[in-house]
């Protein structure tokens, strides 16, 4: 009942651009990794691959969570920037004083507050998600800067958090394992549970979902809660990796997560997409930024590349959608 019906109309007239939008990312990721391994010096080293994993993990965890908001047809959650930083600062600042349990509880409370404010404004007040999450970003970062005094928090160098952050299973850091675990759990939630089904059906047709007797406001809050809890875990992972936390540490996460989601093939129009695709998008975006860094390409060019990548991905999605309508 709750299983996803894979909507694949048996038509032979599906255009190349549609095929491209569906499967292009597999080809691109494979080509990129191959090309990087062959042409880019230092890419295929063990040290570098561990590094890619380290950087991909927090962004990836944010992205797989935010996939829920995007699939529900609400564009994105910009406030993940504030949420990741909040979780990281709480994790280190609170655990230094009161221990890890209290830190997790406090961070969870913050995540729930974010999800409820965003979800109520978007789900019940029908406000635009971009504007709502833009304002909660500023409110959240403002509060964080005010409460933390803008200072940097350091964890004890031999604490459990630092050990987790430095821990590795072979070449794979624990943080990447958390990403894989989150992907599996969230893929299960999205594909196999009643909640996941409702999120997707909401993205396809909001009105029909509401008329079908679903409390759509609660579904939206749920989608934002998944995003907030993921952002919280990403904040923990980020705090563990550097063993420090500061309010500006997650700048750009909103955009990189969105890039990963869209490049993975999740549609910004809602309804279409998957968590596994987002993971693929994360790999693509992370490898791409790693290659740009290895090639000594400046930060400005990296931003341009990422912006162009998003533009290209949404353009392909929009064209495929139009081709599908015809």
């Amino acid at each position: 009942m709750a299983q996803a019906p894979e909507e694949k109309p048996e038509k032979n007239s599906r255009g190349t651009i549609e095929w491209f939008a569906e499967n292009g990312i597999f080809v691109f990721t494979a080509v990129l990794i191959l090309a990087a391994a062959i042409f880019v010096n230092g890419f295929a080293s063990l040290q570098n691959i561990t590094d890619v994993f380290h950087r991909a993990a927090p962004i990836g965890i944010v992205a797989v969570g935010m996939t829920f908001v995007v699939i529900s047809g609400n564009y994105l959650d910009l406030s993940v920037v504030a949420q990741v930083a909040t979780a990281a600062v709480i994790m280190i600042a609170v655990s230094n004083e009161y221990g890890y349990f209290a830190a997790v509880l406090a961070a969870m409370l913050a995540a729930i507050i974010y999800a409820v404010v965003n979800g109520v404004a978007v789900g019940y007040f029908k406000a635009n998600a971009v504007i709502v999450t833009l304002s909660t970003t500023y409110i959240g970062l403002g509060l964080l800067r005010l409460l933390s005094g803008g200072s940097i928090f350091f964890g004890p160098p031999d604490g459990a958090l630092a050990q987790f952050g430095a821990g590795k299973l072979g070449p794979i850091p624990y943080s990447a394992l958390v990403l894989v675990l989150m992907t599996v759990i969230l893929a299960f939630v999205l594909n196999r549970t009643n909640f996941g089904f409702t999120v997707r059906s909401f993205g396809v047709n909001e009105r029909a979902t509401r008329l079908g007797g679903t409390n759509t406001g609660l579904v939206i809050i749920g989608a934002f809660l998944v995003t907030s809890l993921s952002a919280m875990i990403a904040g923990f992972v980020l705090a563990a990796f550097s063993n420090t936390a500061v309010s500006a540490m997650s700048t750009g996460y909103d955009f990189q997560a969105l890039a990963a989601i869209i490049v993975g093939g999740t549609s910004v129009f809602g309804g279409k997409g998957s968590v596994l695709r987002t993971l693929l998008g994360v790999i693509f975006v992370s490898v791409l930024s790693n290659v740009l860094v290895l090639l000594n390409i400046g930060f400005g060019y990296q931003q341009m590349a990422l912006g162009a990548l998003i533009a290209l991905a949404v353009a392909v999605d929009a064209l495929a959608r139009r081709a599908g309508k015809k």
Binding site: L76, K126, S135, L141, F299, I310, A318
Partner: protein
């Protein structure tokens, strides 16, 4: 009898009170005026300096408002332009990196027009959601600004011209304020008196109907985004001249403030309803708020929280949104009464 008649006629009531009611129902600036009145009252009691130092207050309003004016043209058509902040930064860098001042200003403004055209191309021709497309442009242009400036603020070659630009021109009014007033008058005339501008409302209200009525919807979208791009570039030029340097990451607070100004001013985000006057009122409210907070010595993070809160309240209390909330509550209640049994059954079977 006569009482009944007037009730029946409702909207076409000719009495003065009826006219006033009709005007109020038609206008969209209500919330903006209320907020402005509250903020002015608070400012008058706590920091009268806001009014005596009106030059600073006006300058702040012009700073927030200019980008918001261009943005309003886009919002009236039901689109968003998130790229305004980076357009401002990029055009500033363009101006500062060209030695000749006149040439630099022309190039900077052309940058704005180009960005507007690219935005409109994605929205109107490819058919991408404007929130996402302009968000992509926001980051792309930030990259452009960083690359052009080598990631450091660029000094204006002709610093004297910049310093002169910051001086009052007519009475106590600086060129920034005068340009703001001029742009306000131009865009206000454009959307209320010119046919092309009035068509913006039609495009925002119902694009399909506008198309059927013979309005070139795609061309209007180009016009709107190019107005927004041009005005953001103009703001970038003004900022760069006044500060005699261009900051490649400028404008992140402008993004929030300009959206807040347009939305508080009653511009409906789905398009078709709103006004340039509303945006001016919204910008005035925010400008006074910011100056009051600054003069009171409030820390920057607190100011950020205040403006974020104002934006959050503004976007959730849009009359159309409130109506949606009320109707959804009402329909939820009525559907629960009517179809109690069948509605609860599928829930049970799916909840596993």
């Amino acid at each position: 009898m006569s009482q009944q008649e007037s009730i029946q006629l409702g909207g076409s009531d000719k009495s003065l009170w009826g006219q006033i009611k009709l005007t109020i129902a038609r206008r969209t600036e209500g919330r903006g005026i209320a907020l402005l009145a509250i903020i002015l009252a608070i400012a008058a009691f706590t920091e009268p300096l806001v009014f005596t130092a009106y030059q600073i207050t006006l300058g702040r309003i012009a700073l927030i408002g200019l980008v918001a004016l261009g943005l309003t043209a886009v919002i009236l058509m039901g689109q968003l332009d998130l790229s305004v902040a980076s357009t401002l930064a990029a055009s500033g860098v363009v101006l500062a990196s060209i030695p000749d001042l006149t040439l630099g200003i022309i190039a900077a403004l052309a940058t704005g027009l180009l960005v507007g055209a690219i935005n409109a191309f994605g929205v109107a021709i490819i058919g991408i959601n404007s929130f996402i497309w302009t968000l992509g442009m926001l980051f792309f242009l930030r990259g452009v600004a960083l690359v052009l400036s080598d990631e450091t603020p660029v000094k204006l070659t002709n610093a004297d011209a910049g310093i002169a630009f910051g001086q009052p021109l007519i009475g106590p009014l600086t060129p920034r304020i005068l340009i703001f007033v001029l742009v306000f008058i131009l865009i206000q005339m454009f959307v209320s008196r010119v046919k092309m501008g009035r068509e913006f409302y039609a495009v925002g209200g119902n694009p399909q109907a506008a198309k059927d009525a013979g309005i070139p919807v795609k061309r209007r979208i180009f016009t709107g985004f190019m107005i927004s791009g041009f005005v953001s570039a103009l703001a970038g030029v003004i900022n760069t001249l006044e500060r005699t340097a261009a900051d490649p990451i400028a404008g992140s607070t402008v993004l929030l403030a300009s959206f807040a100004a347009a939305i508080i001013g009653g511009n409906y985000l789905k398009g078709g309803r709103g006004s340039i006057v509303g945006t001016l009122i919204g910008a005035a409210a925010l400008g006074v708020l910011q100056v009051t907070l600054t003069i009171s010595g409030v820390q920057v993070p607190v100011q950020q929280i205040f403006i974020g809160l104002v934006l959050l309240i503004a976007v959730t209390t849009d009359p159309n949104n409130l109506r949606a909330v009320l109707s959804s509550i009402r329909s939820a209640r009525s559907s629960r009464v009517k179809v109690q049994e069948p509605a609860s059954e599928p829930n049970k079977s799916t909840a596993s």
